[in-house]
């Protein structure tokens, strides 16, 4: 390639490409954000349909619809798809849309890498789902894939499962690198770190968590691959390894992972509550420090998932104490949200409804988390539906409601059209009722002694399971309202104003709705009024 090549880009005139190539080849943060969000929604239906298979089978005692073997595959794939295919892509989609607009940047820092991070996902997701149709069935060892069930005793499709996890990890790592580079390098002049909107802060920290733990997950599955195909003995005591070692490596990834799922939702809620309370966020600084402390602590609590493996006493105590500490920064966040609402001038549009439900129901999930952290009591809770109730409370009305809130909040900005408020509220109330009906009774079945990951149960648990299944169907089918509302907004919503919400602050609201293809070609001036909400 000799010397200078003549290029005649008219860089900043290029708009969206034509037809399908617009989506396949795009380097635009908004298009990529849209792709992420739609991908996530489709996977939500797939993963949700699997949850409905689970709930249908558990509607009554006895085996009705599926074989135990297939049931395990549903549980496993439901967990994996929801975590890796729904929440994470949705959060990255939100980051793609919002981070450049919120910090006054033209686009993401590394646009082509951005496209690659997204397009790996459909391939990885496809590979993962395709394992279900392979000989011997798909992964059936739970989303935590403990060895040796996932190595020596696993179906042949596990090889492809492992590679799918590698791909998902690669996508997340590239996505995080991009987000970090964008936030550190592309802020408009005057947008100091401590003026950044909280959504940007939470994503910055989340990106670091991802960068630190996704490679460890890759290491864990790589060791599995070697145990399966190359006769190593990492997780086999006969060769001097230890099955428990797998769990340590997995949860070193797995625990920070659950905060990866929730921190961006914290950010979303911290944007929404001030807007609808028409009052600045209470305790901005402590909010930032709290997120940072949660992230730090998340690295030293992993073994609270393994209290029953028989760790030495000192280990049990350490992990119990460290886990309990997380309640403190999380409490700070909850109290600050409540204080932001306090003496505000509140209205309750759909985003706010979801945000309020988030605060209440996430806190309930946090409480059960704290109960699980108490080691001697966890012996009773562990691997029962009490745990299932805990994590669905933090994940569904937590992470998922956070995403719903964000979508309703920013949708008018994204497409320049207002969604139908009545439909939004209907979606909210059905979801709210459905979610509680599904997951609240699971606390009781767990306490009564129902183990998780079983396709059939003894008759004493029948009532709770029936309610739970009914709730699941209500919740599941209400999501079609969301689909309908979003499509209707895109097609025929009322035009939205630039600021959309009268209480909203932040750079994204200074742009027209919908915003130009390249958000800020020239960096804006950051005024105090538009600094963190």
């Amino acid at each position: 390639m000799s010397a200078v090549i003549e290029t005649h880009h008219d860089d900043h005139h290029h708009g969206p490409g034509k037809g399908i190539t617009r989506w396949l080849f795009t380097t635009n943060h908004k298009d990529i954000g849209t792709l992420y969000l739609w991908f996530s929604f489709i996977m939500f239906l797939v993963g949700g349909a699997m949850a409905l298979v689970i709930r249908a089978e558990l509607f009554q005692p006895g085996l009705q619809f599926v074989h135990p073997e297939f049931f395990n595959q549903m549980t496993t794939n439901h967990g994996l798809i929801m975590v890796f295919g729904v929440i994470m892509p949705a959060m990255v989609g939100l980051a793609n849309w919002q981070v450049p607009m919120m910090i006054g940047a033209p686009d993401m820092a590394l646009p082509r890498l951005n496209n690659l991070s997204f397009w790996i996902l459909p391939f990885a997701g496809g590979l993962l789902v395709s394992t279900l149709f392979m000989d011997g069935g798909g992964p059936n060892f739970g989303w935590t894939f403990y060895a040796p069930l996932s190595t020596t005793y696993a179906p042949p499709s596990t090889t492809f499962f492992i590679f799918a996890v590698h791909l998902l990890g690669a996508s997340s790592i590239m996505g995080s690198i991009n987000i970090i580079a964008t936030i550190l390098n592309l802020r408009a002049p005057g947008m100091t770190l401590m003026k950044m909107p909280l959504f940007v802060w939470t994503w910055l920290i989340t990106a670091y968590l991802l960068l630190a733990v996704m490679p460890v997950l890759a290491g864990a599955v790589t060791m599995m691959l070697f145990d399966i195909h190359f006769h190593t003995s990492f997780f086999n005591a006969a060769g001097g390894g230890d099955p428990v070692m797998f769990q340590h490596v997995f949860w070193f990834f797995g625990h920070p992972e659950v905060y990866i799922l929730i921190l961006p939702a914290f950010g979303v809620v911290s944007q929404i509550i001030p807007t609808f309370a028409r009052k600045p966020l209470f305790g901005y600084d402590s909010m930032v420090y709290a997120v940072a402390s949660i992230a730090f602590l998340s690295f030293i609590v992993w073994a609270h998932h393994m209290f029953t493996v028989g760790m030495p006493l000192a280990g049990q105590l350490f992990f119990m104490y460290a886990t309990m500490l997380i309640a403190i920064p999380t409490g700070v966040k909850v109290f600050n949200w409540v204080s932001t609402m306090w003496r505000g001038s509140m209205t309750f549009e759909t985003p706010m409804l979801f945000a309020i439900a988030f605060v209440v129901l996430f806190t309930i999930g946090g409480f059960s988390g704290l109960m699980l952290a108490i080691t001697p009591v966890d012996f009773q809770y562990h691997d029962t539906y009490f745990v299932v109730a805990h994590f669905h409370y933090v994940l569904v009305p937590g992470a998922v409601f956070g995403i719903f809130a964000a979508v309703y909040y920013w949708l008018p900005k994204w497409c320049g059209r207002m969604y139908d408020e009545a439909m939004g509220r209907l979606h909210f109330w059905l979801s709210f009722i459905g979610v509680n009906l599904t997951f609240f009774p699971q606390h009781f079945s767990g306490l009564a002694g129902m183990p998780r990951r079983i396709p059939d149960y003894s008759i004493q648990f029948a009532d709770f399971n029936m309610w739970s299944s009914i709730g699941a169907f209500i919740f599941g089918f209400s999501q079609l309202i969301l689909l309908y509302t979003v499509i209707k907004t895109i097609k025929s919503g009322e035009p939205a104003s630039d600021r959309v919400w009268d209480g909203a602050h932040g750079l994204e609201w200074t742009l027209p709705s919908p915003p130009p293809y390249h958000s800020f070609t020239h960096p804006p001036v950051v005024t105090d009024a538009e600094a963190h909400s």
Binding site: M1, A3, V4, I5, T7, H9, D10, D11, H14, F25, T27, A105, A109, L110, R112, L113, L116, W119, I120, F123, L127, T159, F160, I162, H166, A170, I177, I180, A181, N185, L186, L211, A212, V213, P215, V216, A218, G219, T222, F226, I228, H229, F230, H231, T232, S233, F234, A237, A238, G239, G240, G241, D242, V244, M245, F252, P312, L313, A314, H518
Partner: protein, 305 residues
Amino acid sequence: MANAAEDKSIYYVPENGWYPVWVALGVTCLLVGAGRWLNAIKVGGEPSFIVLWAGVIILTVVLFSWFNKVIQENHAGLPNAQVKRSYVWGMSWFIFSEVMFFFAFFGALFYARVFAVSWLGGEGDKGITGDYLWPQFTPDWPVVNNPDPSRFTNPHESMASPGVGNWLSYLPFWNTLILLSSSVTVHFAHTAVKNNNRGGLKAWLGLTVALGALFLFVQGYEYHHAYQELGLTLGSGIYGSTFFILTGFHGFHVTLGTFILLMQLVRAFRGHFKPDDQFGLEAASWYWHFVDVVWVCLFIFVYVL
């Protein structure tokens, strides 16, 4: 509106491109192909390599074009200093993620040595495991007598260091020196280009590539020795497992690094890199230093201690 090549306040956003989707496709083919191959071997079937090769070919073509394109854009002066800062951040945090990848295997090594092996050998907090289930197993590291030798064949000998006095006849020691000096030479290459010393650039870079290749050769010889003479294989228990996964992935990274440096060498011969603009070379050299640091940790924790 202004053009990024002229207005340096504009952050260059590349137009749509076909490369990334194809990379995604290529990587997927590569992995699916590899998976089919592994699974076929496992059941003793006839592997088919079509998908695997398709992946390799797609990746080669696309990555080559992609990098070419970036270099062209750079020559056209499209990216301003801020864009280049993004590359710097990107590369640094990529290396950080690589560090975490090795961290997983080092973690496994430490856990196995400190906990698993002692417990299986009847020592420590969970010594009852060894007393009751593996009474004949003694917790020595390196493990050359496995808890169940009928399933994981014992190696005759380990790769452990023979003591500082004998290092002159100990190949891993020489390999350490080779890799350490290559880190120095790549640094000289970098300084050379900054001083506009093209001859120095080519010479030092060439030497670095040669040292990388030499390292790989010695490593290959070591592996051969381990498999053929010491009976030390991936299947010889936790020692072999951790030894080969750590040194193996390191070797893989050295291979990649050598290849990247080789490409920089080709570019150097084509007249690329300017005293004030040589990020490709700089990134390659960071990567090389990283590989070097990992090796030093390996030498200490896998071979010596």
